[in-house]
C-alpha cells in the first residue's frame, strides 16, 4: 500500500514514529495527483510547491522533537469556496475566476495551526449550487468509480479527491447535502456538522442559515480527527455557538449495544431506488445484530421540506450573491454603458445558469407581495421540521436514512432538468433546515457504484453520531480504500 492510500490516523502514527516523513507523504500524494488528476479533474488549483515547503517545515519540527498536532503533515484538499489567503478562491465561477482573498477563513487558521499540508483547491458546483459539480464554470469532476458518472455536488472535487487518493482528507461545505451526497456517490465518509459548530467566517456564503463546512475522509476516525480540528466558537461569526467541543477521537467507541436507531418511513418512499433501500436496510440489520435497537418513526413534514429548502436557500443566496457587482473585486464586463448596464452584463456573464435560476427564485420569493406566501411559510415549516426531529430524538439516539435516492448518475443525464436535479437532495435537505449533524457512510454498492447511508443525530451530538458510524465501520470491517481509476 502506498503512502497516499493510507488513513490519516495511521499516517499520523507513522510520522510520529518516523516510519515516513511528511515530505515523502506529500510527494506520494502529488505523484498520485499527477497520475490520475487528468482523468478525475478534482482540482482547480494545485499547490505543490507550497505543500512541499509546508511538509518540509513539519519534518524540521518533528526532527527537533517538537510535539505536533495529530494531523500535522497530513495532506488536505480545500473546497474552493473556503477563503485561502494568497491562493485563488474561485467558487468554480467566472465571477471569481481570478479572485485571491487577502485573508484566511477561520477554519484555515485552525488547519494551519495543526500544521496540515494544503494540497490545493477543489472543484465544486458554482457557488455551491448544484448536486453534480457539472455547474462548475471550469470543468466537471468525474466519479473515481466510474469516470462517466458525476461525483455528486456541490463538494464533488472534495469527495472525488479523497476517493481517488489525491488527498488524504478534505474540507467541503454542505447547505442541502453538498458534503453528504458526493460522499455517498464517491464511497467516502462525509460529515455535515451541527449548524454553528464550525465557523463560517471566510466561507463564501450561499445560504447563511444553512451552510456549514465539514470534513471528508475515507474512514470515520479520520473524519472525527478533522472535525475536532475545525470545530469551535469563533467571535468573527455571530452564529457560531460558544460551548465546549470535545476531541471526538478520544471517546470514539464502537459499542452499538442499546443504540436506538429511528427509521423514518418518509425517507424510504417511492422516490428511493429499491437497491438503495436494500443496502441501507441491510446495514441497519447489521447494527441490530450487534445490539442496536431499531424503531420506526415518522417525520411527516419531510415531503414539503425540499420546497422550503429551495425557498429559504435561494432567498438568502439571492442576497448573498448581490455583492458580486463588478465594483470591488471579481469579474467586470468589458464593454458597458452606464452603471445598470455594467451590473447586468457583469452578473449575466459572470454567473452560470443554475446560479441565475437560484438568484431569480430568491429574488422572486422576497419581492413585494410574495414574502408571506413563500418565505414566511417556509420559515414556519422550518420550525415544524425542527420540532419533529426534536420529538423523534426523545425516543431515539440516531436516525438512519439513505443519503441519496440512487447511486451516481451519468454526466449530462440530469443537467437539462433542474427539478430532477433538485430531487436528488430529498434525503439531505431536512437536516440543514433543522441545523442537525449528519454523516454519510458507505453501505454497499449498486452495479459497482457506491451507495451511502446517512446517520442523523440531535444538535451538538456529533459524538453519538460518530460513535454509531464508527460502530458500523468496525462491524463491516472498514470502508473502501482508494478507488482504482480506470
Amino acid at each position: 500500500m502506498e503512502l497516499y492510500e493510507k488513513s490519516a490516523h495511521e499516517l499520523s502514527e507513522m510520522l510520529k514514529n518516523k516510519k515516513c516523513s511528511a515530505v515523502e507523504l506529500t510527494e506520494s500524494v502529488f505523484k498520485r495527483i499527477s497520475d490520475v488528476e487528468e482523468k478525475v479533474d478534482a482540482y482547480l488549483t494545485i499547490c505543490k510547491d507550497t505543500a512541499l515547503e509546508e511538509a518540509k517545515k513539519v519534518d524540521e519540527k518533528l526532527s527537533i522533537g517538537e510535539k505536533l498536532h495529530p494531523l500535522a503533515g497530513i495532506p488536505i484538499g480545500i473546497k474552493d469556496n473556503i477563503s485561502t489567503k494568497g491562493i485563488k478562491t474561485t467558487c468554480a465561477s467566472k465571477m471569481l475566476g481570478e479572485y485571491v482573498p487577502p485573508f484566511d477563513a477561520s477554519v484555515m487558521n485552525k488547519i494551519k495551526s495543526a500544521d496540515m499540508v494544503i494540497t490545493g483547491k477543489l472543484n465544486m458546483d458554482e457557488f455551491a449550487m448544484g448536486s453534480s459539480t457539472e455547474n462548475s464554470y471550469f470543468k466537471t469532476t468525474k466519479n473515481p468509480y466510474d469516470l462517466s458518472r458525476i461525483p455528486g455536488g456541490s463538494s464533488g472535487g472534495s469527495a472525488a479527491a479523497v476517493a481517488a487518493g489525491e488527498a488524504v482528507v478534505s474540507l467541503g461545505s454542505d447547505t442541502g447535502g453538498s458534503i453528504r451526497q458526493p460522499a455517498a456517490y464517491c464511497g467516502v465518509v462525509g460529515l455535515k456538522p451541527t449548524y454553528g459548530s464550525v465557523s463560517r467566517y471566510g466561507l463564501v456564503a450561499f445560504a447563511s442559515s444553512l451552510d456549514q463546512i465539514g470534513p471528508i475522509g475515507r474512514n470515520v476516525t479520520d473524519v472525527a480527527m478533522l472535525q475536532s480540528v475545525i470545530c469551535g466558537h469563533d467571535k468573527m461569526d455571530a452564529t457560531s455557538k460558544n460551548i465546549e467541543y470535545p476531541d471526538f477521537t478520544k471517546s470514539l467507541s464502537s459499542n452499538v449495544k442499546g443504540l436506538k436507531i429511528g427509521i423514518p418511513k418518509e425517507y424510504f418512499g417511492k422516490g428511493i431506488d429499491s437497491s438503495v433501500k436494500t443496502s441501507v436496510m441491510n446495514a441497519v440489520k447489521e447494527l441490530e445484530n450487534n445490539g442496536a435497537v431499531v424503531k420506526e418513526i415518522s417525520l411527516p413534514s419531510t415531503d414539503y421540506a425540499i420546497n422550503a429548502y429551495y425557498i429559504l436557500s435561494s432567498a438568502e443566496a439571492s442576497s448573498n450573491l448581490a455583492r458580486f457587482d463588478g465594483v470591488k473585486y471579481g469579474y467586470r464586463t468589458e464593454n458597458y454603458n452606464g452603471l445598470v448596464d455594467m451590473y447586468e452584463k457583469t452578473r449575466s456573464e459572470g454567473f452560470g445558469d443554475e446560479v441565475k435560476r437560484r438568484i431569480m427564485l430568491g429574488t422572486f420569493v422576497l419581492s413585494s407581495g410574495y414574502y408571506d406566501a413563500y418565505y414566511k411559510k417556509a420559515k414556519l415549516l422550518q420550525k415544524k421540521i425542527s420540532d419533529e426531529f426534536n420529538g423523534a430524538f426523545s425516543d431515539v439516539d440516531i436516525i438512519a436514512t439513505p443519503t441519496t435516492p440512487s447511486a451516481a448518475f451519468k454526466i449530462g443525464e440530469n443537467i437539462g432538468d433542474p427539478l430532477k436535479m433538485y430531487a436528488t437532495d430529498i434525503c439531505t435537505v431536512t437536516i440543514n433546515i433543522a441545523g442537525l449533524p449528519a454523516v454519510s457512510l458507505p453501505c454497499g454498492k449498486d452495479n459497482g457504484m457506491p451507495v451511502g447511508m446517512q446517520f442523523i443525530a440531535n444538535k451538538f451530538n456529533e459524538q453519538t453520531l460518530l460513535n454509531a458510524a464508527f460502530g458500523y465501520e468496525q462491524i463491516v470491517g472498514g470502508f473502501n480504500s482508494v478507488a482504482a481509476i480506470k
Binding site: 482573498p101 470591488k328 422576497l366
Partner: protein, 478 residues
C-alpha cells in the same frame, strides 16, 4: 403660506454615532481619513465575511430612545435592506424593518415660547454606506468605502410638524439632545447628521394629501428652504388642477428647487428579510433601566425650565443650555440660592463666555466656582460693590483663586451706599463747583456727569454711582 392650505411634515434624521469602532466590524470609526484606508474585508463586503454587532451602538440607540420617551423593544432583530448601489458593498444594508429598537416616543420643543409635542415613530440602528466622489473632469465616479459600516441611528418623526419653523426647532432640538447625551458629534459639515423631509399639503378639515419625500437636504436651514419650496410647489400644482404624485425628489439647495428622483413605479423593492448572519438582540431589563437613569436633564427640558421657572428669555436659556459647561455652572450656581438667576445668566453670557472663548478653558475647572459666582452676583445685586468693581472681583477670582469677600476686603472695593456719606459729598462738590451747577441749570446736561464724576473722585471711587447720581440730581433740582 397660503392660508387655505396646511402643511404636514415628517422628518427622518440619520445621526452617526461616535463609537470607537464601526457597527459590524472593529475598524476605527473616524472621519476624514485618506480614502479607503479605514476599511477591512468585513465593511468592504468581501466574500465570506460576516458582521458582528457593536454593543455600544445598541446602548446609544436605547439612550436616545429614553431621551425621546420611547418604548424600548428589548427583543428585536436586524434585517437586510437589499438594493444595488456602488457605495453599498454588500448590495444590502443591515438595518431594522418592522421591529425597531425603540418606538412610540415624543419630543417636546419650545417654539415662540410655546411648547409643542412632536411624535417620534421609531428609532432604529443601521450601517452607513460609503461615499461617491464626482469630478467634472472625470468620466466615471469614484467610490470611497471608509464610511461603510459607520453606525447610524435613524429617528423617524410622526407627521406632526406643521411649519418650516417647527421643523427647524425639531431638528435643532434633536441635534442638541444627541450632543447632550454625547452619542453623536452632529457635525453637519462632516455629514454626521442628515435628514430626509416628507411634505404634504391639504385644505383645512380635509384629509392629509399625498406626501413627497425629499433627499439631499444637507443642512437644517436647507430643510427649511426645501419644506417651503415643496409646500409652494404642491399648492401651486393643486390650484392648477393637478395632482400631487407620491415620489422621491432631490433637493437642490443652490437652485432652490426639487426635482423628481424616483416615481412610485420605480420605487425600490427592498425585499426586507431577517439578517441570517446575526442572532436575536436581547437587552437586559436592568441595563435598559440603568441607561435611563444615566440620562442628564435634557436640553429642551432645561430650556423650558429656565424660561418658565427662572424667568430667562428663550434666547438666553437656549444659549446657556447649548454649552454643557455653561449650563452646568448655571445650574450649580442657581442651586446655591445666592444671586438672581437672571443676574447669573447675564454674567455667564457676557464676561464668562468671553473668558471661555479667549482661554479655551473648561470653566468648571477654574477657581470660579458656583459658590463664588453666586456670592459675587449677590454682592453686586445688593449694591455692596459697583458693576465695575464686580469685573475686578471676577478677574481676581480667576487670577488669585480667592473668595469674593476676601478680594473686596483686600482691594477695598466695597462701595459706600450710606445715604449720609453720599449726601455730604454731594453737598461739598456742589458747593465747590458753582459754575457747573449754573451750566447744568442752563441746559448743559453733561455738567451732571462732571459733577457726579467729581463726587466719585471725592469718595475715592467708593460711592455707589447709581445712588450718587440720584442724590446729585436731587440737589440740583432744588
Amino acid at each position: 403660506m397660503n392660508k387655505d392650505y396646511e402643511m404636514v411634515v415628517g422628518l427622518e434624521v440619520h445621526a452617526e454615532l461616535n463609537t470607537e469602532s464601526k457597527i459590524y466590524c472593529s475598524c476605527k470609526n473616524a472621519f476624514g481619513l485618506e480614502v479607503n484606508t479605514q476599511v477591512c474585508p468585513i465593511c468592504m463586503g468581501m466574500p465570506g465575511t460576516l458582521p458582528t454587532l457593536n454593543e455600544k451602538v445598541v446602548d446609544y440607540a436605547i439612550k436616545m430612545g429614553h431621551a425621546l420617551n420611547c418604548t424600548i423593544n428589548s427583543v428585536c432583530k436586524q434585517d437586510r435592506k437589499n438594493y444595488f448601489y456602488p457605495d453599498l458593498p454588500k448590495a444590502y444594508q443591515i438595518s431594522q424593518a418592522e421591529v425597531p429598537l425603540c418606538q412610540n416616543g415624543h419630543l417636546d420643543i419650545m417654539i415662540d415660547g410655546e411648547i409643542r409635542t412632536i411624535g417620534v415613530t421609531r428609532i432604529h440602528i443601521e450601517e452607513d454606506a460609503g461615499k461617491l466622489l464626482h469630478d467634472e473632469a472625470f468620466a466615471g465616479s469614484l467610490v470611497d468605502l471608509n464610511r461603510c459600516g459607520v453606525p447610524l441611528i435613524e429617528i423617524v418623526s410622526e407627521p406632526d410638524i406643521r411649519s418650516s419653523a417647527e421643523a427647524k426647532a425639531y431638528l435643532d432640538t434633536i441635534k442638541s439632545i444627541l450632543q447632550y447625551i454625547d452619542i453623536s458629534d452632529c457635525k453637519m459639515q462632516e455629514g454626521s447628521i442628515r435628514c430626509d423631509v416628507n411634505v404634504s399639503v391639504h385644505k383645512k378639515d380635509e384629509p392629509f394629501g399625498t406626501r413627497c419625500e425629499m433627499k439631499n437636504v444637507n443642512s437644517f436651514s436647507a430643510a427649511v428652504r426645501g419644506i417651503e419650496y415643496e409646500y409652494s410647489r404642491q399648492v401651486a400644482l393643486i390650484e392648477a388642477g393637478g395632482t400631487v404624485v407620491q415620489e422621491t425628489r432631490r433637493w437642490d439647495d443652490v437652485k432652490g428647487e426639487s426635482i423628481t428622483m424616483r416615481s412610485k413605479e420605480d420605487a425600490q423593492d427592498y425585499r426586507y428579510f431577517p439578517e441570517p448572519d446575526l442572532l436575536t438582540i436581547v437587552v437586559d431589563e436592568e441595563k435598559i433601566k440603568a441607561i435611563k437613569e444615566s440620562l442628564p436633564e435634557l436640553p429642551n427640558i432645561k430650556v423650558m425650565r429656565y424660561v418658565k421657572e427662572l424667568g430667562l428669555t428663550q434666547i438666553d436659556a437656549t444659549l446657556i443650555t447649548e454649552a454643557l459647561d455653561k449650563s452646568k455652572l448655571f445650574d450649580d450656581t442657581v442651586k446655591l440660592g445666592k444671586g438672581s438667576p437672571k443676574g447669573i445668566a447675564k454674567w455667564i453670557l457676557s464676561d464668562i463666555s468671553k473668558y471661555i472663548n479667549e482661554t479655551g478653558k473648561d470653566i468648571n475647572s477654574t477657581p470660579l466656582t458656583a459658590k463664588r459666582l453666586g456670592e459675587m452676583v449677590e454682592i453686586i445685586e445688593k449694591g455692596t460693590i459697583s458693576n465695575a468693581a464686580g469685573k475686578t472681583v471676577f478677574e481676581t477670582i480667576l487670577s488669585d483663586d480667592k473668595d469674593p469677600s476676601v478680594i473686596i476686603e483686600e482691594k477695598s472695593l466695597a462701595q459706600n451706599s450710606d445715604n449720609d456719606f453720599l449726601e455730604n459729598i454731594a453737598k461739598e462738590v456742589i458747593s465747590n463747583n458753582e459754575k457747573s451747577v449754573t451750566d447744568y441749570k442752563n441746559g448743559k446736561t453733561n455738567a451732571l456727569g462732571f459733577l457726579v464724576g467729581q463726587c466719585m473722585k471725592a469718595s475715592k471711587g467708593k460711592a455707589n454711582p447709581g445712588m450718587m447720581k440720584e442724590i446729585v440730581e436731587k440737589y440740583l433740582a432744588e
